[in-house]
Structure formats: C-alpha cells, structure tokens
Symmetry: C2
Subunit: 323 residues, 2 copies
C-alpha cells in the first residue's frame, strides 16, 4: 500500500472521466470544478480502505471517484448558497457562469456520482447506494443546519457537533466505508471504517476552527481570524459564549454586535478572550478525543497490522497538517 | 387494468411517503411540493406499462414513485431558474421559503428518487439506474437548452424538437420503460415503451404550444397567448419565422422587438400571422405524426391486445385533453 501510488491513480482516473458534451454550459462547469484540484482526500481514503483487504485495489479506482464527484457537487451548490466568489483561488462556477448554470451543472454532477457507482457488481449495488443515499441526505441536512445557525440564537456545543458530523464527517465516513463495502469486508469492519471516517472528520473540522484563530498565516494559507471577523459560530465561539461570564461575556457580546470594526482589533480582542477562557485547550482536547476515537476504530479492524499501520500514518499526516 | 385504480394507488403511496424530518427547512418544502397535486401522469404511465405484463402491478407502486419525485425535483429547481412565482396556483418553493432552501430541498428530492428505486430487486437495479441516470442527465440538458434558446438567434425546428425531447419527452419515455423493466419485459418491448413515451411526450409539448394560442381560455385554465406575449420560442413561432416572408416577416419581427405593447393587440396580430402561414395546421400535422408514431410503438408491444387497448384509450384521453 503506497499512498502516493493511490493518489496518482485517482488523479489519472479523474483526468480520464467523461461527463458529457452538449450543451457546453452544462458540462464545462463540471470539468472546470473537477480541474480545480485539491487533495482528493475522499477517494484516496476509499482506496486506502480497499487496500486493507486486497492488493488489487486499482480496479476500484473508478467507483471510488463517486465520493469525489459528489463532494464537488456539494461544493458547487454550497458556493451558490454561501455567495462565495472564490474556490481554491479561482472564480466559483456561479461567478464564472451564473447561478442557474451552477444549479443545473451541480444536479448533473450528482447524477454522475451515481453513474460511477454503477461500476460496482450488481450484488453490492443496493447496499452501496442505500448507504450513499443516507450520506448524501445527511450532507444536505448539515448544510441546511449550518445556514440555520447563522441566524439561530443559542446554538449549543451539541448542536454544532451534530451539524459538522452531518455536513463534513458523514462523507468521510462513507468514503472509508465504501472502500470496505466494495471488497466485501464484513459488517463489523465497514461499520468501524465509517466510524473512523466520521470521528476524524469531526476532528478535522475542529482543527479547522482552531487553525482559523491559532494557525500561522503563512502555513494556513488564508487570513487568520476570518471566522472571528464573520461571527462564524465555530466550536470556539460557541464554547466561549457558554463559558464566558461578567466582563468577558460583556466584551464578547460587544464585539459580536459591532456593525463595523477594525478587523485586527476584533480578532485580537476575541482571541484574548479565548485565551483567558482556555478555549484553545478545550477545543484541542475535544479534537484529540475524536482523533483517538477514530484510531480506536482503526485498531479494531480485522485487517493486516502492517496495512493498518500505513493507513494510520496517512491519517496522522493529515492530522498534523497546518492548512 | 383500471386507470382509476392505478391513480388511486399512486395517490395513496404518495401520501404515505416519508422524506425525513430534521431540519424542517429541508423536508417541509418536499412535502409541500408533493402535496400540490397534479395528474401524477408519470407513475400512472409506469404502472399502466407494468400492468401490460402482470396483474400484480400493485407491488410496483412504490418504485414507480421515483419518476414522480424526480419530476417534482426538476420543477423545484426549474422554478428557481425561471424565477416563477407560482406553481399550480400556489407560491413556488423559492418564493415561499428562499432560493437556498429550494436548491437544497431539490437536491434531497433527487436523492429520494434514487432511494425509491432501491425497492427493486438487486438484479434489476443496475439496468434501471443506468437508464434513469441517462434520462436525468437528458432532462437537465433539455432545461439548459431551453434557457439558452431565450437568447439564441436562429433556433431551428430541429433544435426545438431535440430540446423538448430532452426536457419533457425523455422522462415520459423512461416512465413507461420503467414499467416494463420492473417486470422483466424483453428489450424489444422496453425499447418500444420508451419510444412510445418519447413520441407522445413530444406530441404533448406541441399540443401545449398549440393550446397557448388556439385553446379556449376557460378550458385551458391559463391566459391564452402567454407564449406570444413572452416571445417564447415555441414550435409555432420558430416555424412562422422560418415560413414568413416580406410583409409577414416584417410584421412578426416588429412585434417581437416591441419593448412595450398592448397584450391583446400583439396576440391578435401574431395569431393572424400564424393563420395566414397555416402554422396551426403544420403544427397539428407534426403533433399527429408523433402521436401516430407512439401508437405504432404501442401496437408492436408483445402484450395482451385488450390491455394494450386500455393503455391506448388512456393515452388518447390525455391527447384529447384541453388543458
């Protein structure tokens, strides 16, 4: 099992994908979106899971792309909903074309994801599609909750963890589970694979929340404090609102309600409140809890110890990343 | 085979459908959309096709709903793209909620359509989903072409027929084909069922184009001349632009380019041009060609003559409708 070999194979398969030709307004945005790059983390995880059980993982590369195409479909529609101008430094589809094109191209991408799953043998199809459907609905539920939270007072830690489980972690769970399902791993293992993905998915999101505030600008590659400036309800803010009292609560509320402010001042003030309330440590503990839970699932898989170790190392690498 | 019995069963199954609960912004619009009613033509056609081959058609009602849920998904997204305020006299989903809700609820509806197909036995699934995927992509292609046509000069009769084949007829084709696929009808018959649906689908759209101009307001139930007022590129207008010469062409172009006008005057003038150019007859001939092609497919099905006759009568009833 070699992660680089898997990533290379995934990128080759993506480059070879045929989405359709006519009308170009429908298919060009799909090619554009898929060409923006990224780490292809989801299908790489799928094939890493597959390679736990078979050396012949190469033949599963095409159906593994279903999770990457699905992921990019959600990004295309999310970018409309979030009115995001840029994605990986390039104009988003709805900016480059228009909203209608982004809606309709996204719809076809979702259909394309199902088409990729049809590469699987008939006897696996019903189970894989049933699990994929559940995951797809959960990702939509998570996106809706995320939008709701913007205007919703009193979002709790529990609400937030459930939202990121749905929006982010469910697809990482399914990506790993798919790897097991494709090679006929037993139910215990496919469940453990799902829980591994779900746990590290929640951990990754908590890490993102932490990096936004405590990351080094040069390494993170985006402006530190973006979430703070936007009043984004991250784990850190929710926890701080829960923990803060008197002076701290007053100051936090003040900054959240300022219609205009000097960005650096707001970021500095809220970061200082986080520090005083030990929010960084609380969030890191929570994150490490989820990573540990994931590793516990990985340990219990009925697979070759050396191969499990390789998957573990790959996940630890992603955990250690600074962007 | 009793069409009313089939329609009753379809409505019962729709009423019993569970889409999900939380968050309500995601699932309430689906229930709302599905409760707006309509003739449920597509799943009724599916079960009518099924009943050509088996008396036990009732057990296929749930997977047949996939085509109705898919159809309503396309309406929910189309209404955003067309900025349509009303659907069956009620506010559209993006009007009642907002665009983001309509995008995301629609996405989940598409997932729900696939979930309904999972009711089918494993050995049929790959084939059914492959055909469904093709159909779903074609419907999106048709919608994109329809939007393109608004700004595209020189749309030909051939372009138009291809657009309505994709946007409207492909799903009617698949609806009938699905009925055959579910009961294991042979490839000749499932192909004929598809072609039957595709042909009458094109015929229905041509009939819609005709009714907009030549229908009786009371029977049609919507304002006569709506397409003319909106410069909609229907079969009639495309044909008239192709046939008109000198005085007629000049007058037609005049009305198409008037930024403001008295609606009745424009409708009257363009209708008169259609009459002079015999466009009504040309369109009716074309429509009848497609209906005849459909009936020719129906005749060739390897099914019981009495049952084929019942399906034929049902289709003739829809053809004879005035709205």
């Amino acid at each position: 099992m070699d992660v680089n070999q898997i990533a290379t194979k995934i990128n080759q398969e993506i480059a070879a994908l045929q989405y359709g030709q006519h009308p170009p307004e429908l298919y060009e945005p799909i090619r554009y979106m898929m060409s923006l790059g990224g780490k292809r983390l989801r299908p790489v995880l799928t094939l890493l899971a597959t390679s736990l059980y078979t050396d012949d993982w190469q033949r599963y590369a095409k159906p593994a792309l279903a999770v990457e195409v699905f992921h990019n479909f959600t990004l295309m529609h999310d970018d409309i909903m979030d009115a995001a101008p840029l994605r990986r430094g390039k104009p988003t589809v709805h900016t480059q074309w228009n909203n209608n094109v982004a809606i309709l191209s996204g719809d076809v991408m979702l259909v394309n994801a199902y088409e990729l799953l049809l590469e699987l043998p008939a006897q696996q199809l019903a189970q894989v599609i049933r699990r994929f459907n559940r995951c797809a609905a959960e990702v939509c539920e998570g996106q809706q909750l995320d939008m709701n939270f913007e205007k919703q007072p009193g979002v709790t830690e529990e609400d937030y963890l459930e939202m990121i489980r749905l929006k982010t972690a469910a697809l990482l769970g399914f990506s790993l589970e798919l790897g097991g399902l494709m090679v006929g791993a037993d139910h215990t293992d496919t469940t453990l694979l799902y829980e591994l993905g779900e746990s590290i998915g929640i951990g990754f999101q908590l890490k993102d929340d932490l990096l936004d505030v405590f990351g080094e600008q040069a390494k993170v590659g985006k402006q530190v404090g973006g979430d703070i400036m936007a009043n984004k309800k991250t784990f850190l803010l929710i926890k701080a609102l829960q923990e803060a009292q008197e002076q701290d609560l007053e100051e936090l509320t003040y900054w959240l309600n300022q219609p205009s402010f000097v960005p650096e001042e707001k970021v500095k003030a809220i970061t200082a409140i986080y520090e005083r309330l030990d929010i960084r440590q609380i969030a890191e503990n929570k994150m490490n809890e989820y990573f540990a839970l994931g590793m516990f699932c990985l340990d219990r898989l009925h697979a070759n110890t050396a191969k499990k170790e390789a998957l573990k190392q790959f996940i630890e690498q992603i955990i250690a990343r600074e962007n």
